[in-house]
Amino acid sequence: MIEVIDLYKSFSHQEVLQGINLRVEEGQILALIGGSGKGKSVLLKLIIGLIKPDKGKILIDDQDISKLRRRSLKQLKERLGIVFQGGALFDFLTVFENIAFPLREKTRMKASQIRDIVLAELARVGLSGSENKYPAEISGGMKKRVALARCLVMKPEIVLFDEPTTGLDPLIGKAIHNLIRECQRNLNFTAIIVTHDIPAIFPMVDRVAMLYNGKIRAAGTPGEIENTKDPVIHQFIHGELEGPISIT
């Protein structure tokens, strides 16, 4: 379970998060929506411990990630995974080597075992036969699948997705959504998906939360969010230009 309590974060006097409160139950998928550059990715980086909050708590199974010592933080990070917006694949490694990287560096598995796992993972994300290509030689959608495979190869309990379908056409976007849902069913991880893919994301998530002005404006089931009377959320999910959200 992930619980974020009264979380604040600012960069050079710019207050990005101003008292975030959020809860994601075990095995749930939460979609985090909100305007561009409003702090959704920052929240993910805070949850995974890449940056420290100014104030507040991030509890993962009752452990406050911002207060953990180096060794405990390392142990906790091993239970987490993140799929970055651009994939963040190591460009000097092939697809195979990228997926094998965490296994090689963090386990004592034999090369043959690693090979079997990587090939199975590649098959799961529909990329069999692409193992010898470099990230520069594959498409955006393929990069996201490789990033997903690299993340899932360590069987994380919590997976964070930073805009997994941004820059992809609707069909590939839907295929990625289905893949995430299928992997979640098989591996039963808890997930937070930062996305602008509204309302396409709604059928595949358990809850939706909207980040607005540095706070969680509302959180609920996709149905509740879709039918809300809140003019801010209504304007945002329907993509209306007129309304309380000013476009700058």
Binding site: L50, K77, G81, I82, G86, A88, L89, F90, D91, K106
Partner: protein, 260 residues
């Protein structure tokens, strides 16, 4: 009245910025040394870095070393001829290369070839979130990126310096013996008589320190690069300029200590 304080404010700002940057760089180096001590030691990554920093610069070192030795012999021969001391050409060329030109020019070449590439590579890894990905996998980016680079710099620079000096001496030989009719024995005999272990050690100490300086500055600038392509290009320029200036300044202080 407040305008009187403007110069002091500017001086204060510049000093504050300089001290803060120096502090960050020192912390970065201290953290790198800290992680250097603890396992895993990743020898394959160190070898890859030696290939990146050392092997890929070898051709440039061969070329610049040869021509530096040649031009040094050419200039020195005419100067020595005025005093009738042409027989000293060998030791003058060798000592200049071993104690000064070898370490400095090879370090400047490595800065231009590998230092800039190192900054750009780490910088691109930073802006494309590859460093964050390492961190998210609970793998220490210092251990995987910075420590192998520093060790590769420490190993590569003395070797590149040795290559530079060797081909430089032969470049000087080609000019002195081939063009200026100095005898082979005079050229190499002089070197044997006048070049001692102390001179070679001086060059070694210098190239070791330059290896550390180049990889430290280049890695630091890449690791803390600004946003986007502009940030990486700025970091690369800063790394090359700062490394080159620091090499020359540090060379003066090292020489004054070693000569004393």
């Amino acid at each position: 009245m407040s305008f009187l304080f403007i110069p002091f404010r500017i001086i204060g700002y510049v000093i504050h910025k300089f001290v803060r940057e120096l502090g960050r760089m020192t912390c970065f180096l201290a953290a790198s040394f800290f992680w250097m001590v603890f396992p895993p030691y990743l020898p394959r990554r160190i070898v890859r870095r030696i290939n990146f920093i050392g092997v890929k610069t070898t051709v440039v070192i061969l070329l610049t070393g040869t021509f530096t030795g040649m031009v040094l012999a050419l200039q020195t021969y005419h100067a020595l001829a005025k005093f009738g001391a042409e027989s000293s050409l060998g030791p003058v060329v060798a000592l200049s290369l071993i104690r000064e030109l070898g370490p400095v020019i090879s370090a400047l070449m490595v800065t231009g070839c590998a230092g800039s590439a190192l900054t750009a590579e780490i910088g691109i890894m930073r802006i494309s979130e590859q460093i964050d990905a390492l961190d998210a996998m609970a793998l220490n980016p210092y251990k995987y990126l910075i420590v192998p680079s520093l060790l590769a710099g420490l190993i590569s620079l003395p070797l590149l310096n040795a290559i530079f000096v060797t081909v430089g001496i032969f470049g000087g030989y080609a000019v002195g013996v081939g063009l200026m009719d100095i005898s082979k024995g005079t050229y190499f005999g002089g070197i044997q008589d006048f070049v001692g272990a102390r001179d070679i050690l001086e060059g070694l100490y210098k190239s070791l320190s330059f290896g550390l300086l180049i990889t430290w500055i280049s890695s630091y600038k890449g690791y803390f690069t600004g946003y986007g392509a502009e940030g990486v290009s700025k970091a690369t320029t800063q790394a090359v300029v700062l490394s080159s200036v620091v090499i020359l300044v540090w060379d003066y202080f090292m020489t004054s200590i070693l000569v004393a």
